[in-house]
């Protein structure tokens, strides 16, 4: 069996995004305004393009893959909304991602549409709960404010308490990183 050759890397980054040099970026990737990518992150647009929105944060050893096109024989765009956090070592192969989601360390998300304000806890695994078969053309969408947690990766709906505080912390975190990252890391010229 011959594997298809890796696509040519084509990165389109907004002038205010911060991308470290020591990352693995493959395929057609668009990075929006104010997004930050730490060293050792991987963004693999092997199945189709990946579009990352504004103000996203991708930490080290996080992996974002768009690989679903190889299964369905079409080039789908993995669009990622604004202000999403991909923490250390998470692996995201979602079909689409909305706004303000948080993927905590080593969370794994695969084959679902993620809406807005979802939290995927540390070490959890999220897979579509509808068994994938021939009629599974409609893939599962996680409702807004879904929180996945615990050893059994249970899903609950978050009531949104403390959301404003989280958002403020995140905004300041990003501001601080914008200041400190370029001092110690080699950045890609965008």
């Amino acid at each position: 069996m011959s594997r298809p050759v890796a696509p040519v890397s084509k990165v389109t980054a907004h002038s205010t995004s911060l991308i470290c040099q020591d990352i693995d970026i493959r395929g057609d990737v668009t990075v929006g305004a104010g997004s930050i990518i730490h060293p050792k992150a991987s963004i693999l647009a092997v199945g189709g393009p990946i579009v990352i929105g504004e103000g996203c944060l991708i930490e080290e050893t996080a992996v974002i893959v768009n690989r679903w096109a190889s299964d369905f024989r079409r080039k789908e765009v993995l669009s990622i909304g604004n202000r999403n956090v991909f923490m250390v070592g998470c692996r995201v192969e979602a079909l689409s991602i909305g706004h303000s989601n948080s993927f905590q360390p080593k969370a794994r998300v695969s084959g679902v549409h993620v809406s807005d304000h979802c939290v995927f806890g540390s070490g959890t695994v999220t897979l579509p709960s509808i068994p994938t078969g021939e009629q599974s053309s409609a893939s599962e969408t996680l409702p807004p404010y879904t929180s996945v947690h615990g050893s059994l990766s249970e899903r609950t709906i978050w009531d949104g308490s403390g959301q404003e505080m989280e958002e403020n912390v995140y905004a300041k975190h990003v501001d601080y990183l914008r200041e400190i990252l370029p001092k110690f890391n080699r950045m890609r010229v965008v």
């Binding site: 360390p105 080593k106 540390s122 070490g123 601080y176």
Partner: protein
């Protein structure tokens, strides 16, 4: 620990040996090296990520990661300082790691403090601002949530991490012998 344990060897030149006996893989990612202190005779294996660049807000020299002696940081471990808002501005806080600390493969450590002789298994996630006191054992694949305090001489496991057991007083000697043994067995081929 025993006298007949096999050597753990690496190819010559793939590790940098410092004057104080630290062995640091060339494939480890160490950012902001000026902010990291290694106590000596510590091993940092390939693929480990140490984020010394995420430092405190105020100007001047700051230690971000300080590590004691005979530590063993396995492959793929990420050590990064935790951050929070203090007095209205976001700042990172230093990570203090004691002597004889072993961290297993692919663990993510965002702890504030790790005491001496702590053993962390593989694939663990140690949340932000966790304090692990001396001689604790964290079993493999444990998830410790933010700001957990692990008391000394206890065993923790599960997701979320829970106290499972306590350890005998002889544990300290065992850990020391194990760490020193591993350091002496870890050498170039």
């Amino acid at each position: 620990m025993g006298a007949f344990d096999p050597l753990v060897t690496y190819e010559k030149g793939t590790y940098i040996e410092t004057d104080t006996g630290n062995k640091v893989s060339r494939k480890a990612v160490i950012t902001g090296a000026t902010n990291i202190i290694l106590g000596g005779k510590s091993i940092i294996q390939s693929g480990a990520v140490l984020r010394g660049d995420l430092r405190r807000y105020t100007a001047g020299q700051h230690v971000v990661i300080s590590m004691g002696r005979y530590c063993n940081i396995s492959e793929g471990v990420v050590i990064r300082p935790p951050g929070k808002i203090y007095k209205g501005s976001f700042t990172f806080y230093p990570v203090r790691i004691g002597d004889c600390v072993t961290i297993g493969q692919n663990s993510v450590v965002e702890a504030a403090q790790i005491g001496l002789g702590v053993e962390i298994g593989k694939d663990c996630i140690i949340g932000k601002f966790v304090i692990i006191k001396d001689l604790a054992v964290i079993l493999p694949e444990t998830v410790l949530p933010e700001a957990t305090v692990v008391p000394p001489m206890t065993v923790w496991g599960g997701n979320p991490g829970q106290l499972l057991d306590s350890l005998p007083e002889t544990h300290q000697e065992m850990v020391e012998a194990k760490c020193k043994g591993f350091y002496s067995r870890f050498r170039a081929a």
